[in-house]
């Protein structure tokens, strides 16, 4: 059993030490034990099994016999403080003032009393906007709902995006909402989005990934370069060695034959913007996977090279994602994730079944990644 007092004492001792300094800093996050509901603390590390009560509601049973129900509501991640307070109200009402968020930006309410589940869900629905419950999966029965889309800043905050983030997520989730509400997919399917190739959404290992790409080389702002950029590191930032120094003019130039529009130079140097509203857009990747279940983790692969930006609802992106999801869902076996499905049917059949076009863009020509990576074990699946 965890000695909570001991751990909290350690924490407060640490905080006290920090407070001794002139400037109270580097004290870190609150100790987690201060945030855990009692049922969690009492049964910490003692959970025995879980069941899925219904889509969005989990039941965890402890060795002690204690039970906790988790009600999971989806959020757009971008939340106003008003909404957070509304969530707090609900948590105060039903959950003794505790609340948590999941790693995919869903909010969870933990209750010990089964009878609170439905009222709580109703309160969530009554919010403005309504906060629907769902997105869980049940491996036992082999029924999976679609969870939230992990995503990034987009036009709401970032300086390098080729696409918006929240808007596309909203449009896609609206269209796929039935799969969120009901556990009717054959296996886990994680969708994610990153608004540029920096991939803050970590789309590089998702079942379906939406990624913003530029398609034109930077338009150099010589003044900006002179003012804001360190030339050698700007030159070094280009993976394809497309940037050349113009030392006399104290600026740089781009060999646009070599540029593959990654945007890394702009990240390093504000004098190299590359925003072309007509040519920026979305690429779609599929067949990534993170869990070790059944098959090794896998990187996502590009299957649609480019779709133009069509705000506010990006219909072509929505359509492509749905097409992939439904082609897979209707053809896959139980527990067979997209990566595993493609492994079984072959990429040639993937393109046939989804109706997507295979173009030259999809053939990897990025030769900076060394083959040695293929020989390192990117998986915990080994035998002792």
């Amino acid at each position: 059993m965890v000695d909570w007092e001991e751990r909290q004492k350690e924490y407060w001792d640490f905080i006290a030490k920090r407070r001794e300094k002139d400037y109270f800093s580097d004290f870190g996050p609150p100790h987690y034990s201060l945030m855990l509901p009692p049922v969690v603390k009492d049964n910490y590390g003692k959970w025995k099994y879980h069941e899925v009560v219904k889509c969005g509601v989990l039941k965890h049973v402890s060795e002690s016999g204690d039970v906790v129900y988790s009600i999971r509501a989806v959020t757009p991640r971008l939340l106003s403080i008003q909404t957070i307070r509304d969530f707090c109200d609900i948590a105060d009402k039903y959950c003794d003032g505790y609340i948590r968020w999941t790693t995919r930006n869903n909010v969870e309410f933990l209750v010990t009393d089964e009878s609170k589940i439905d009222p709580l869900i109703n309160d969530l629905k009554a919010m403005k906007p309504a906060y629907p419950v769902g997105g869980t999966h049940d491996a036992v029965t082999g029924k999976y709902a679609l969870s939230n889309i992990v995503h990034t800043q987009g036009w709401v905050h970032c300086h390098t995006p080729a696409i918006d983030a929240s808007g596309i997520v909203k449009a896609v989730m609206d269209e796929l909402f039935e799969y969120f509400e009901e556990m009717k997919l054959p296996a886990l399917c994680r969708i994610s989005l990153a608004c540029c190739a920096n991939m803050c959404g970590a789309v590089h290992a998702s079942d379906i990934a939406i990624v913003g790409i530029h398609r034109a080389p930077p338009l150099i702002d010589d003044d900006g370069v002179r003012r804001m950029c360190e030339l050698p590191s700007t030159v070094a930032s280009c993976p394809n060695a497309a940037i050349k120094m113009k030392p006399k003019e104290k600026t740089v130039e781009v060999d646009s034959e070599k540029c593959m529009f990654c945007g890394n130079c702009y990240t390093m140097c504000p004098g190299m913007p590359m925003f072309d509203p007509e040519n920026d857009g979305t690429a779609i990747m599929v067949a990534g996977k993170i869990s070790a279940a059944r098959s090794d983790p896998a990187l996502s692969k590009v299957v649609v090279p480019w779709i133009p930006n069509e705000p506010p609802r990006w219909p072509k992106v929505v359509d492509a994602v749905k097409k992939i999801l439904e082609a897979w869902a209707s053809d896959a076996k139980k527990h067979e994730r997209i990566a595993e499905w493609v492994e079984r049917i072959g990429w040639e059949k993937f393109f046939e079944k989804t109706g997507l076009e295979f173009t030259q863009h999809l053939i990897n020509d990025y030769n900076r990644t060394p083959y040695i990576y293929a020989q390192l074990r990117a998986s915990t699946n080994f035998r002792w």
Partner: protein, 410 residues
């Protein structure tokens, strides 16, 4: 007519709308109203209106704040500055409403009223404020009880993150919350002071299901596992047999074919189990990880710039994770020292390992090479041999005579 006709379209549909959220914040905050109008402009122009931030920081910290400025400050004065502040979330993202409300109150006072709950790395992100609000904001957070601190950004240790683990999951093979918290606490210096070649991320998942996506999103992914046999409750297996086809859905999907089911008993040849979790996931009441628990550390996961996207690969096949986690700390200290010394500007640790060869980091950290680390051995015979591995032949003597320094020589 609405000022934001395009965004209004995004209030339709069943999925909760971020537009509605911005509007809600806009009820009290000018910045949120300007953000909405600016975003509408982006929707029209199909491009961002944010510029690079200069370095904006709070006293004593080098990271944690992302500077951001609008490129149309005259039209949208309330978001002329729109810096974000990354707050180190409580481990596994549990909160008391008391703490949450307190943060909301501070944010109402000091910023836009808009948040990201949470950032991709795991921070609780406060979205948009002016430079002059940053220090007061930090100070307000520090005064909370318990206090909240700032997270990472720039070339530093990023805010570590953990799955829910032992707090509510039957499969946690180690205490993800404690390891994550203890590492965060131990490494406050590098977390708040960017001084490495580039960023470094740590994530803690309690088992190979990896619910915090550590394998793809952290330079150092601590994945719970075990070394002994899977625990089986044959009675519960029989119960599951009533509701599932154990042969088809469990045995046949085992990646190594190490299971068998005769209709009443499930057997596992544990020597050939790779701990993929599938069977355990399928039958939580009947199967469980063994007792000899710990973690496998994968190294090097990252996004594609520059050398390509990666999922981490096996670095420490097995670590026992017992407080105070000295083995982990020692590994991190040595790894960082090496990276700091050898890494190029903006070279992630995994890229450095590629450049130098795994052999190099194993030597520096005194880690035993093992077949667990490779998906297969090398497919070329281009091996390095240190002087100490060579026979001191006449040829070698002649090289020495000529003053040629061999590999591995001091």
């Amino acid at each position: 007519m609405s000022e934001t006709p395009m965004l209004d379209e995004l209030e339709k549909g069943p999925f909760p709308s971020f537009v509605t959220e911005i509007k809600k914040a806009g009820e009290t905050k000018e910045a949120a109203r300007d953000l909405l109008r600016l975003l509408e402009r982006s929707y029209k122009d199909k491009k961002t209106h944010w510029k690079h931030g200069g370095i904006v920081a709070v006293k004593g910290y080098g990271g944690g704040v992302i500077g951001r400025y609008c490129d149309l400050p005259d039209e949208f004065p309330a978001v002329a500055h729109f810096h974000t502040v990354r707050i180190n979330q409580p481990t596994s993202k549990f909160y008391t409403t008391k703490s949450l409300r307190a943060i909301c109150d501070i944010w109402e006072k000091r910023g836009s009223g808009i948040t990201n709950f949470h950032g991709s790395t795991g921070d609780f992100v406060l979205l948009g404020t002016f430079t002059e609000e940053l220090q007061p904001l930090r100070d307000d957070l520090a005064e909370l009880d318990p206090p909240f601190d700032i997270g990472g950004s720039g070339s530093d240790l990023r805010t570590p993150s953990a799955c829910i683990g032992p707090a509510r999951c039957e499969w946690a093979c180690y205490d993800t919350l404690d390891v994550c918290y203890e590492m965060t606490k131990e490494y406050q210096m590098p977390l708040h002071r960017p001084m490495w070649p580039y960023k470094f991320k740590i994530k803690c998942s309690g088992c190979p299901n990896d619910c915090v996506a550590a394998k793809a999103r952290s330079d150092f992914a601590i994945i719970g596992t075990w070394r002994d046999d899977i625990k089986i409750d044959q009675n519960e297996v029989k119960e599951y047999a009533k509701i599932m086809d154990i042969q088809a859905e469990v045995v046949d999907l085992c990646p190594t074919g190490c299971m068998s089911w005769d209709g009443s008993t499930l057997s596992i040849d544990n020597a050939n189990c790779v701990r993929c979790m599938h069977c355990i996931n399928k039958m939580p009441k009947a199967l469980a990880p063994g007792d000899d628990r710990g973690a496998t550390v994968l190294i090097g996961a990252k996004a594609p710039m520059l050398d390509g996207s990666t999922i981490g690969w096996v670095f420490l096949p097995f670590v026992k994770l017992e407080r105070p986690y000295d083995e982990l700390k020692e590994t991190l200290d040595n790894l960082w020292e090496w990276w700091d010394e050898e890494g190029k500007f903006r070279e992630r640790v995994g890229e450095l390992i590629w450049r130098k060869g795994v052999r190099e980091v194993l030597k520096v950290l005194d880690i035993e090479p093992s077949p667990y680390m490779v998906s297969s051995p090398r497919n070329n015979p281009f091996m390095f041999f240190d002087k100490s591995e060579l026979i001191h032949s006449d040829y070698i003597k002649e090289l020495e005579r000529r003053g040629i320094k061999l590999k591995g020589e001091e």
